[in-house]
Amino acid sequence: MLEALWFSLIAVLFVGFFFLEGFDFGVGMLARFLGKTDTERRVVINTIGPFWDGNEVWLITAGGAMFAAFPNWYASLFSGFYMALFFMLLALIGRGVAFEFRSKLESTKWRNIWDWVIFFGSLLPPLLWGVALANLMRGVPIDANQNYVGTFWDLISVYSLLAGVSIVLLFLLHGALFLGLKTTGIIKERAEAFALRIGKWTSVVLLFFVVMSYFETDMFTGKGINPGSIPILAGFALLSVHFFIKAGKTGWAFIMTGATIVLSTITVFICLFPNVMISSLNPEWNLTIYNTASNTYTLKVMTIVACTFVPIVIAYQAWNYWVFRKRVTVDDHLDY
């Protein structure tokens, strides 16, 4: 029971991470292109300025929660996807300092370099998360001792890259709509026009990914729990985005990309359950929530801590978004 609870909690943390960091990855990828002048770029970056670090902690907490609740999952996943994580860490390191460093010197060249770092630092993590999720769904070579025995290149396939591209597109759309909500004037117009253009492509690529998942994974054969209508709702949410943008309802469009991200993440976790990593060598060697979990006492203690603090975190992060609810404009005090 506790194992299932913790599996859901980790799902919640990943949902939080993809929803929140999703738009700030998107904004990071778009900053260079939607901001034509230096001030415009500053405006774009400032829309996520007060939030991105808090958003990233969702990932760090998810990592910590995996370590505490499912140490064997944490160990197998992190050592197995070693090189992928190495690249992701480089990206996250570069991106984090780039936000801080870019405006510190006047030089155009200096800012240009950091803007590229922000671009690649925001592009690479969603791409790699896509690759990682696709491999979690499809299964990877795991031996009897719960060790991943493949190489980095075994993780790379048309299917896993397609998953990466889908997530990149989805986050681009999510980020563009976030900018539509948080900026004014020309930047807002550009962001919404971009969202309108990319929206259709996102739907097409994601649909293609779902179809390919049918052939590549056994998610559809009902080995896990039947996700029921959740993935269908995710699909409808994504399709509705286009119409909301056309109707000028950016807020609703943003909610719908958010819903797509949330519902798709939930679908992946539900379909995995009770497995956490699937062995492509032998189903007996699958990692499950039972053979990777901590002892009951640890899970109980962690449950008390999580049930107390997750609501508090959500409350003050919500307050953070409330404090900075206004749109960022070029006339603002942008000295940061």
Binding site: Y74, A75, G251, N295
Partner: protein, 464 residues
């Protein structure tokens, strides 16, 4: 070198590097919170300018600390998978709690603090920086409770070949934690304080904004003195605890091969020969090690050779002597740097109280390179405590060699080690360049602050 050696190097490099930034963040957070409190209470604008100036340097430092911290959490799973499987049910707990309870608080309120200067009331904004400082301290507490488990395992039992938590409060009440945590936190205060004192000294020497930097110098040097003394005191209790729990580490830190007589001398300089397991040359202060270990002139301290036999009897065949030279010298570097810090703190405070500190050129000049002392002491202290614990990764429970990821190849670790080292080098260079740049620029009086615009109505709020 194989994957194990490279993984050890990578862990050492990433951890020491991360911990260059962490103590400076913790120390500066409190000092900035103090300055901002002065601003709010006294309504003295100069403290606001100071808080903003030091805040800018703090944020540069914080950014590097945060990004290197992600690696810190991930590398247990990446490079030390078997360690993670063995202790995850105990060790993972404090890490998860740290992220959930402290790191969220720290990151969220720091974001609000940075962008909130003219969005929030003065008092709420002040509360944000205090929350950041407190959350950073709590972070240290959780992380150190995890580290304390590696030094002195408590609150667990071994079930099916792995450690399982049986008592969460035992982890928090670990005696090791309560000697380690004060030592680290006072060291962090000292790091922030010497940084502020040193930079202020530089500005006073250059005769730039002397009045302002005199203010921050006063705060810095007093805290530098107090925290250096407290760090040493806390270190003293830590060494006494070490005698009881990890005598081998203490013996290695003293290059003590044979058990001493009635009273133990403290070695100042030894030429260590690890091959023949003896010291070729040794300058000693009589009685000093007994005082350090037992608060008494008498008290015999066991040597490594005797402990080795004891450990073989307890844990089975094996070499239980850690790398002696590294442990011995890192301990001496830490203590030496700490002594210099106390001395400079005393001199600085003394001349500050006698007024006209800005004319004490030699002292001010010395305080600039002294910025490095706490960083040296922090790093040396961690190297001593982690290297001195070897061959254990968890004392008495698991050898470091058994904790490494079995499926991560030498080539993979070599690649990541080279990659991280290059990136860390670049970051360090950029960081130092920017700090110097902003120190040269000095305090900027922001005109937006003086004519702060009234907040406009809500037409910019996005409507859904």
């Amino acid at each position: 070198m194989d994957a194990l050696d490279l993984s050890r190097w990578q862990f050492g490099i990433t951890t020491v590097y991360h911990f260059l930034f962490v103590p400076l963040s913790i120390g500066l957070a409190y000092l900035i919170a103090f300055m901002q409190t002065m601003y709010v209470m006294k309504n003295d604008e100069s403290y606001k300018h100071l808080a903003k100036f030091w805040g800018k340097l703090f944020l540069l430092n914080f950014a590097v600390g945060v990004v290197t911290g992600i690696m810190q959490e991930f590398q247990f799973g990446m490079n030390w998978a078997d360690y993670s499987r063995f202790v995850g049910a105990v060790f993972g707990g404090p890490l998860a709690v740290e992220a959930l309870v402290s790191f969220f608080l720290e990151s969220t309120f720091l974001g609000i603090w940075i962008f909130g200067w003219d969005r929030l009331s003065k008092k709420v904004h002040l509360a944000c920086i205090w929350l950041v400082a407190i959350a950073a301290t709590l972070s240290a507490l959780w992380i150190l409770s995890a580290n304390s488990f590696m030094q002195e395992p408590v609150g667990y039992e071994i079930v099916n070949g792995r450690a399982e938590m049986t008592d969460f409060f035992a982890l928090l009440g670990n005696p090791q934690l309560w000697v380690e945590f004060p030592h680290v936190i006072y060291g962090a205060f000292a790091t922030g304080a010497f940084f502020i004192a040193g930079v202020s000294a530089y500005k006073m020497l250059r005769r730039q904004q002397v009045e302002m930097f005199k203010k921050s110098f006063q705060i810095g040097i007093v805290v530098a003195l107090i925290s250096s003394v407290l760090t040493a005191t806390a270190g003293h209790s830590q060494s006494q605890h070490l005698m009881e729990t990890q005598p081998m580490k203490m013996a290695a830190a003293e290059a003590l091969w044979e058990t001493t007589g009635e009273s133990a001398p403290w070695s100042v300089f030894a030429v260590i020969d690890t091959e023949s397991q003896e010291n070729k040359f040794n300058i000693e202060i009589p009685y000093a090690l007994s005082i350090l270990s037992f608060n008494s002139l008498y008290g015999s301290v066991p040597g490594m050779l005797e402990l080795q036999e004891q450990y073989v009897a307890t844990y089975g065949e094996g070499d239980y002597i850690p790398p002696v030279k590294t442990t011995y010298w890192s301990f001496r570097i830490m203590v030496g740097a700490g002594m210099l810090m106390i001395l400079l703190g005393l001199l600085g405070t003394w001349f500050m109280l006698r007024n006209k500190i800005e004319n004490r050129k030699l002292l001010l000049r010395l305080l600039i390179p002294a910025i490095a002392l706490p960083f040296i002491a922090n790093s040396a202290g961690w190297i001593m405590t982690e290297v001195g614990r070897q061959p254990w990764i968890v004392f008495g429970l698991q050898h470091t060699a058994d904790g490494v990821s079995p499926n991560v190849s030498t080539g993979m670790v070599a690649t990541s080690l080279i990659g991280f080292t290059i990136i860390y080098g670049i970051l360090a260079a950029v960081f130092v360049y920017l700090v110097v740049h902003f120190v040269r620029k000095g305090i900027e009086i922001d005109h937006n602050d003086i004519h702060s615009k009234p907040q406009d109505s809500g037409d910019h709020i996005p409507a859904i």
